[in-house]
Structures are given as C-alpha cells and as structure tokens.
C-alpha cells in the first residue's frame, strides 16, 4: 500500500519533471512548428547557471532562488539569439530546423565540456530542501515537492500570461492562425522572438530545478529531451493543457509500469503507447482546429 501511494506520487513527480522540460517546447513547437533539438542544451545551461550562481553566492538556498530567474534569462537569451540567427531564416523548413538545432546542441555540449569539464559538477541542495516529508505513510523528498510546486507555478504563470496579457493574446493569435494574425497587424516576427524567449527561458528554469535531483554535466539535457518531445507530441501542438495531461499521464504510466516490470521496458512501453495513441488521435490529445492544408 505504501508502495502504491509512493508510486502514485512518483508518477506525479516524474510527470512534473517532464512537464517542466516540455513546457517551453510546447510553446515553441506549437507556435512555429519548430522542433528545437537544442532545448535540452538550454536545460543544461540552466543547470550550469545554478552551479555558477552557487559558486558565486555560496549559500545554497539563496543561490537557488536567485538562479531561477537568472536561469530564465540565460535560457531565454540563448533561445532569442538562436531564433534571430538561425530559426527565423528557416521558417518554411521545419525539418531542417530540427537538424540545425541538433547541430547547435552538439556545439553547446562541447562548449560546456570545454568550459566546465566533462565530469559532472555538484550543485548542493539547500538545507531546507533536504530530506523528506511524511505523506500518507510514505516519505516524499522535499526536492520533488519543490519541483512539483515549481511546475504548477510555471504552468499557471504561462497560462496567465497567455490569457491576460496583450503579449500573450498576440502569441495565441499567432498560434491560432499566423497569417490572419499578421493581417490583423500583429508582427509575427516579434511574437516569434518573444515566444522563443519565454519557451527557452522555461528550459533554463527547468535546468535550475533539475539540479536538485539529477546530475549536472554536459550531457544532462539529452536525457530529458526525447521524453519531453513525446509529451508534446502526445499532448497536441501548442496546447499547454495537452502538455500537462500528457506529462502526468506518461509519468504515471512509466512509474506504474516500472513497478511491475523494468525501467527499460517502461521506456519501450511508453513508445508503444504513444504510437497506439496516435492511431486514435493523430493530432494529439487536444488540437487546434484549422483548415490549413499543411
């Protein structure tokens, strides 16, 4: 029974990690159909931001809180630069963007290796996040509660921004119908740059948070990327709601499957489930309806 509750919680927790990693992707992929393979490296940049901040500030707790906004800026600026230098020019070639950003990811990984060295570095977990909390008879690590909380905050913030700010309305207009939005006087260029900034910034935040549970090394981002993409694919293009549901569903599925089988088989199981799922709903859980031929 303890184990069952533990696993249920694990599903939520794994789901929120997936969600943090996938939220930014969902925005950029959804808005521009751009597959940013360097998203994982933006997460890694967030991890190293947390590391560097901690080296400078010293106190683990303070540095974590400072690193979150800095990570957002670091990721955001990297994304903004990437959009301005490359992605903007590859607009009608989404598959090429995928390969180009993969190249960017390779370069960023090697940069990290040359700057910080290949071995993993340690980001100390602040005192107030160490240990666990007893919840319904199982011990739940505080770091995971923190990440779940952060995921909720991030989703709420993104939803609020999209819904209630002028910038957010522009983003939604462009996601809904790019050409129509342009005829309505919205500069989709500016909006693209903005979306990419926010989406990549979220990757940076995710990176900072993930140092609490995982390692910080040049290849850190890669371990999250494929799963994050699957979340976006299963959730449906550009739908935050879809990403949330898909992330939690996949997280829970994996955790439960893993209990009765092995972690490796769980990964394979996730893939099979998604292929079968796409048979039923080829456009993901939630779709924006357009009549576009593309």
């Amino acid at each position: 029974m303890d184990l069952f509750i533990g696993q249920l919680f694990t599903g939520l927790s794994t789901g929120s990690i997936l969600l943090l990693a996938a939220l930014g992707l969902s925005l950029t992929f959804g808005q521009m159909g751009v597959i940013n393979m360097a998203h994982g490296e933006f997460i890694m940049a967030g991890c190293y931001t947390a590391y560097v901040t901690q080296q400078v500030v010293g106190d683990a707790g303070v540095s974590l809180l400072i690193a979150l906004p800095i990570g957002f800026l670091v990721g955001g600026i990297m994304g903004w630069v990437l959009e301005a230098l490359l992605i903007r020019h590859l607009y009608h070639r989404p598959l090429d963007t995928l390969l180009v950003t993969f190249g960017v990811g390779l370069v960023l990984q090697q940069v990290a290796r040359d700057v910080f060295g290949a071995p993993a570095v340690n980001v100390t977990v602040p005192e107030f996040l160490r240990g666990g909390v007893d919840l319904l008879g199982t011990t739940v690590p505080k770091t995971r509660l923190f990440i779940m909380g952060l995921a909720i905050v991030a989703v709420t913030a993104v939803t609020l921004v999209l819904r209630f700010t002028p910038a957010g309305r522009r983003i939604r207009a462009v996601v809904g119908n790019r050409d129509l939005a342009e005829t309505a006087g919205i500069s989709s260029r500016t909006v693209d740059a903005g979306t990419f900034f926010i989406g990549s910034g979220l990757a940076g935040v995710a990176g900072v948070a993930l140092t609490l549970i995982g390692s910080t090394s040049p290849t850190t981002g890669q371990s999250y990327l494929v799963d994050a993409f699957l979340v976006v694919v299963a959730g449906g293009l550009g739908r935050i709601k879809g990403a949330v549901v898909a992330a939690i569903a996949l997280g829970t599925f994996q955790a439960v499957f893993e209990t009765y089988s092995t972690a490796s088989l769980a990964k394979v199981g996730v893939f099979v489930v998604i292929v079968v799922f796409l048979q039923l709903r080829p456009q993901g859980l939630f779709t924006l309806r357009t009549r576009s031929l593309a």
């Binding site: 184990l3 927790s13 071995p119 240990g131 549970i213």
Partner: protein, 426 residues
C-alpha cells in the same frame, strides 16, 4: 533541361542490365578472391612492429570524446605519467617509449577500428586503454586476429581470459566477493541490488545471488536502471520499502548522482542502510556531492589515501604533473601499473615480440601504489589487494578494511564451490 524525357531509352532494360552487371562483377571478384575457409589455418598477420630504432611505439586508446571521456581521460593521464617516468629512467630495453594516441569516442566500433589502426598502421608494440566491457569485447577479436597485446586497466565482470589481453584491474574475486565478505562480517543479513542495465551489473548480481544463497543472505530485490537514467524515485521507494540491511550498488556514471540524491532525500542514511558501491571512485564523489554520499562504502583495490611509499610517490608525481586539485583513482592506478608491468615483462623477455611477452609474463611483478602486483601467466590477470573504503567529508575514500595480502586472480571463480553453476569454463 532541353531534352524531352519521352525520348529517353528504355529504363527497365538499362536497370536490369546495370543490376545484372553489378551482381556479376561482385560475384566474380568475390569468388576469385576467396581466402581460407573455416577450420583451415589462416596465415597469421605479420607483425610490423619496428624494433630497430631508438624508440618503441605503444598505443594509448581511450575515449576523449563522448560520454565515457569523463572517466577515460583520467586514465590517459596516468598512462602518460607512467611512460614519462619510464622514459626518464632510461626507457625500455634502452628505447624511448613513444605514445601513439587515439580517441575511442565512447563507441565500441570506434575502439575496434582504432585498435586495428594502431596495430596495423602504426605498428605499436602494445596498446593501453579501454574502459567499458563493450569496448574491450569489441577490441578483443582485433587483438587476437592480429596477435597483438592490449593492457586493460579497469575492474570488470570477469569470465574472460584472452592470450592477447592483460587485465590489470580487479576481476570479481578481487572486488565483489571481498565486498560481500565485508558486509557479511559486519552482520548484513539482507541485500537490495541496484545496478545499471548492462553486463557488469548483471554478472555481478548473478555472483552476489549465488554467494547470498550459499551464505544465507536474503536478496530482497534486484533493479536495473537504464544507463544514464536520472529517474530513481521508483527504485529508491522500493529499496526503502524493502527494509534491507544494505544496498549493493553497481550503477554507473551520472545515474549515481540521481540515485544518491534521491536516497538521501527520502531519509535513508549510511548508518541504517549502507550502500556498497563498486563504480564510485574519487572522481565521481565531487559530482554526486559529498553531503549526499558521506559515510557510504566503496570496494576497490586502491584509494588515493592508501598509505605506502609507492603511493606517496605516485600521488605527488601525478599532482605535480596535472595539478594539485586532481585526485587519483583505482582505474588510473591500474593503468599506471599496466605500463610498468609491460615494461618489466619486456625487460625480462628482452624482447618486444608478443609471443616472448606472453611466455615471460608469469610472475612479473611491480611494487605499485596499491602494493605489489604480480602477473598470473595462466589467465593474464594480476594479484590485487581488496580494500573497502568509506567516503569521508573531504571527498576522499579511506580504507576501513583490507584483505590479508594480495588476492590471486580467479576470473572464472573456479576456486569457489558456490559459483560452480554460474559459469561454464572454456
């Protein structure tokens, strides 16, 4: 495009002819060029090692790029250190050792390819390197087919003995079995096994299971995480729920970071449920964070803190060469030893030839940082002293237990009755 495709020649016929021609050429050339068949003797490839000059070439084959570069670059440093020291002392057979360096790129196929290049193109007398079992398995046929020598410096899962490989890291009876002995001595009655999903952990756990069955230790669970996995919630939950006396950890690389953080965070401590690790050395402790792993155990043959004159010299020389902040670890020491063992064997054989080295290897010894190591001529492994270390707050490991003298290598565990069912000896 000025032509009209309507006037193009019949495509199907062209196609059929091209196809037929290709097949014919291939068939013709292939059959004309057939070599020896199974069971026939193949003319052994002639060694191209040049022993006439003032220098002798050896290969250093480690991953400098890819996931394994983290660990393997440290081994590379140790190899260079040993070669420099030997050269400073007059070389081998009066010849200066010259290193031909290659990158294994963390991929078994690249290891095989580069090994072949080192042997056939660079004509090296021996190769030092390799880390993962996959890389060793990939290189093994290359060294056997070309009749050349590999010195492999990492502890591994045993069950192998090639004429063309010298294994200077521990085999299972020099690391895993002593670790189990230690745990049994300290009163551990039940174990939980956690490992990465590849060959070493699976073989190690098979041995542990057999050992446990014999000694009445209960195995409460056995979990494997995908290599590189960072999601350890489920596994740690299960470990915690099992209430085992100790955990035997064969995880590899980054997974250790996630595992130990999760372990500490659910409130498990070294006092109530110690973790015995066989892949965590000085290099890894920093990345995991000392605060997450302090007090936990590791099983190796060497720690930087081993107290011996040879080790003092080794550590000082290493830090002088590569910086005071660098640490030395077991695989580095084994790699360092491997160069010295090769040199000593060459001196004894007074020859660089593979067959002479093989014939003279038995009994060659070296006063290494971990203590004296001696080559076993039968299985090409070396004697090693087993040590259990505890991770301390300064990030180093300190010996808490040590075997009574060096342990003879027994890669096929022939000396252990309980292991009889585990393996089929060749």
């Amino acid at each position: 495009m000025p032509h009209r495709f309507t006037t193009l020649p019949s495509p199907a016929r062209t196609f059929a002819r091209t196809l037929a021609a290709s097949v014919a050429i291939t068939g013709l050339v292939a059959t004309a060029a057939c070599g020896s068949r199974a069971g026939e003797e193949t003319a052994a490839a002639e060694s191209c090692v040049d022993t006439s000059g003032d220098t002798i070439k050896v290969g250093a084959l480690n991953s400098l790029s890819g996931t394994m570069s983290i660990s393997e670059t440290t081994v590379r440093d140790a190899i260079y250190l040993a070669v420099d020291e030997i050269n400073a002392a007059g070389g081998v057979q009066g010849k200066e050792i010259e290193i031909v360096a290659e990158d294994g790129a963390s991929e078994p196929t690249v290891f095989a390819e580069k090994a072949e290049k080192l042997i056939r193109e660079d004509c090296v007398a021996a190769v030092f390197g390799g880390w993962t079992s996959a890389s060793r398995k990939a290189m093994l046929p290359v060294f056997e087919d070309n009749d050349s020598l590999l010195y492999y410096p990492v502890q591994y899962e045993g069950l192998e003995a090639s004429e063309n490989i010298f294994y200077t890291g521990a085999t299972t009876n020099q690391q895993i079995i002593p670790a189990l002995d230690y745990l049994a001595e300290t009163g551990v009655k039940s174990l939980y096994l956690v490992g990465s999903d590849y060959v070493f952990p699976r073989t190690a756990n098979a041995i542990i299971n057999a050992y446990a069955a014999d000694k009445g230790i209960e195995i409460l669970g056995e979990d494997y995480a995908q290599l590189g996995s960072v999601e350890f919630s489920t596994i740690v939950n299960q470990v915690s729920a099992s209430g085992a006396d100790a955990v035997f950890n064969t995880l590899n690389g980054d997974s250790n970071v996630a595992f130990f953080r999760e372990y500490a965070n659910v409130g498990l401590t070294a006092e109530e449920m110690p973790v015995m690790s066989v892949s965590i050395a000085e290099e890894e402790v920093g990345g995991i964070g000392v605060e997450n792993i302090e007090g936990q155990l590791a099983a190796w043959n060497y720690y930087q803190t081993v107290e011996s004159p040879a080790n003092t010299t080794f550590v000082e020389a290493f830090k002088a060469e590569y910086g005071a902040d660098r640490v030395t670890s077991d695989p580095m020491e084994a790699a360092y030893n491997s160069v010295y063992l090769w040199a000593a064997t060459v001196e004894k054989a007074e020859s660089f030839a593979v067959e002479d080295i093989q014939a003279n290897a038995d009994g060659v010894s070296f006063d290494s940082p971990e203590g004296t190591v001696v080559i076993d001529g039968d299985n090409h492994h070396v004697t090693k002293t087993a040590r259990i270390g505890e991770i301390s707050a300064d990030g180093l490991l300190y010996t808490v237990w040590e075997s009574e003298g060096p342990i003879e290598p027994d890669p096929f565990l022939e000396g252990y009755d309980w292991a009889a069912d585990l393996t089929v000896t060749e």
